[in-house]
Symmetry: C2
Subunit: 427 residues, 2 copies
């Protein structure tokens, strides 16, 4: 059987499972989730040994240590995976909510209710825990899921998927509720993208290459999870104590996160005081500053002498970079408007921030910046399903439609209208 | 300048106009809309003469009379176009609604607000009034619009677009708020589909070929408006007086509409009585019946004798047909479950209907059928933005994500989160 035929069989099975999953009770779904959590814990040994195979292969291929770290499973990370499943079981069921309802004058009753999307394809890279995390949220929302993980985590993903399958069978749910594509062939991604007769929505999570490939080939709606080029604008009236606290958090707490700050725009009036104080704090925290000509000129000589290896001249392209590291690009701007324009043309519409004591500037920024989350005087690191209070997240959508920003259980549903009548006809 | 360069210039201009449109006041938008209405009325002569060119060309090319009818403008249709614009001016502004809001324990305030999508591409066929109807709804929702009409309405569309442009300039709005692609080259559609750096969302309205082309090539989200293969299931306990009334309305009122019924599924217990009575009524209304073997066998001899030219043997593919005409495919099923399964595998997830006095059957059908609108004892013809109470519609979405079913002003917006703090950082 060739790859295309095999993948289409997966699609057909998922499509067949979808209506069964859509009508499951909350109790049934939660029961299955708790069984999944047990299976993961019971299979700790198998999971670790499968993971060792992936780690050995990655080391053999000279994969970067940071990547190997993301690939690694441990007893703790397996327990965390199981705990995520239990948390999902405890969350409210997103299916069957009455979103709105109304009655026409002729008595026709309209009800808009939330329903599962149907079949969701998830294409991801690296971290094997996504196999479980993504699949269980999708299941809780009543969807069938087809997973395509990265080749570097092939054995780990297979071992996790085997746990899920065992639990589904024990729970009496269709095994096709969660299916893992069992190949490392990249062609599989292209074929899945063309299966719009089976897959209702594709969620790619990963690097630019993967996202671009899915966007180009997909015939179904795509909810992409890609880069965060997040900017902070420090306004003339900013409280620098607050700016220091927020920026250290937003840049240094987890530099590899998509909601970390990559660009700092400085109002020209605040630039000298900012660089003297917050610039110093960032340098002391180990951050490399990519400075535009104006900010390089302003930077105090003593800092230039103390941190020579952490100072770089910023090129234009550094303001479109997702450093994913302890680096930040800094630019002096002459006004709030220039900051807004810079963010529109250089940012990725993910999370952006204004630090100011000027309420009018804050409101102007909040409304003018077209990003999923726009902040006033708070860290962009809050862009996260857990921090938003969603209980769990499948990721941070960089789409503008359907789901924008943190994507939780509700965003894994869609809606339909139920209309109840007594023989009404249209005039 | 080649086609790609010209289209990209359009995209750039739209992208530049989008933030201006996003921050317009409701008063400004409504003022512009009322100017558009006036321009359309003042330009009646020019519009009619441009339309005559299209009609002459269509006649010369032997286009079908039904198509020519859809292409034709008249003083009345121009007045109706202007009236639609005035209605849009009177509707509530869909931008800036607070969709939800909450405050965290640490005082961080979250607000989810509606905002315009940005730049919307609309690719459509035939009816020139879509040029105005679609563009003005998109404008009211604060979006920039790029229109690509069918070549058969080329001159009419240009004349309407010229009215819109004059009104935008008078209103002091960017001319790029509404732009018409000035070419009949089909290649333009493919190029637009690849312009995801400028166009946030593509809305294709038209035949299967057009939808397929957009789905295949588009790199941005697509909200498609395609076929309605709507089914009515007549349950064993159906009230046949009601069934007759509803089906005559749903099939005959406007057979060319996507919300007209194309398939009738009959519970085997009701089939004889139904065919005797409602079958007769449909035949008398001029409807051609495509009957499966079981229903052909049951159909009373007298009807076979009286309406020989309106009876056909149904082939399997007739149950996947959008007749768009006074024809309907009829099939006998043994249960509610068989009806639900038939609709899942043959329908287009648009609008489906159960006629029954059995509340349990009704609720099972309402919840199990995965269509944008699911009806109990009412005509599917109600699937329409106006009938839903949306005030206006850009069409009926057959997407599952973002907008499903009638798509009004609210569906032309998306959202973002505004987060207001006092220096909060993430733990």
């Amino acid at each position: 059987m060739n790859l295309s035929t095999r993948l289409r069989a997966l699609g057909q099975a998922a499509q067949k499972a979808a209506p069964v999953l859509a009508t499951l009770t909350t109790v049934d779904k939660n029961h299955a989730l708790l069984l999944i959590a047990s299976e993961l814990i019971h299979a700790t040994k198998e999971l670790l040994s499968a993971n060792l195979q992936d780690l050995a292969q990655a080391t053999h291929h000279g994969v970067a240590p940071a990547m190997i770290d993301r690939l690694r499973l441990s007893q703790e990370s397996i327990e965390a995976m199981a705990e995520s499943v239990r948390v999902a079981a405890g969350l409210p069921d997103p299916v069957g909510r009455v979103l709105t309802s109304w009655t026409r004058e002729d008595g026709l009753e309209f009800q808009k209710i939330s329903i599962p999307i149907g079949v969701i394809g998830i294409i991801y890279e690296s971290r094997p825990n996504v196999t479980s995390d993504a699949a269980i949220l999708s299941l809780k929302a009543g969807n069938a899921t087809i997973l395509r993980g990265g080749s570097e985590a092939f054995h780990s993903n297979q071992a996790i998927a085997a746990c899920l399958e065992r639990a589904l069978l024990k729970a009496g749910l269709p095994a096709a509720a969660i299916q893992l594509v069992q190949t490392t062939d990249r062609e599989a991604v292209r074929i899945l993208c063309e299966m719009d007769e089976y897959i209702d929505c594709m969620i790619p999570r990963g690097g630019k290459g993967l996202i671009q490939m899915v966007k180009t080939h997909a015939r179904m709606p795509v909810i992409k999870h890609d880069d965060g080029i997040c900017a902070a604008f420090v306004d003339a009236s900013a409280d620098l104590t607050m700016a220091e606290k927020i920026l250290l958090n937003a840049k240094c707490q987890r530099p590899s996160a998509c909601n970390a700050i990559e660009t700092v725009l400085l109002d020209e009036h605040v630039a000298p005081a900012f660089l003297d104080r917050v610039g110093k704090a960032l340098l002391e925290a180990g951050v490399t500053l990519y400075l535009d000509a104006a900010s390089m000129k302003i930077l105090p000589q003593r800092l230039k002498k103390s941190f020579p290896s952490q100072l770089q001249e910023a090129r234009e392209e550094d303001f479109r970079r997702e450093f994913l590291a302890l680096s930040v690009a800094i630019k002096v701007v002459s006004s709030l408007e220039e900051a807004i324009t810079h963010i529109a043309s250089h940012g990725s519409h993910h999370s952006d921030l204004i630090i100011t004591e000027n309420k009018h500037h804050a409101e102007k920024f909040l409304h003018a910046v077209d990003s999923a989350a726009v902040y006033w005087n708070a860290s962009t690191r809050f862009t996260d399903g857990g921090e938003f209070g969603f209980g769990a997240e499948i990721g941070i959508s960089t789409n503008k439609l359907h789901a924008r920003g943190p994507m939780g259980l509700e965003e894994l549903t869609t809606y339909k209208y139920l209309i109840r009548g007594e023989g009404q006809t249209r005039r």
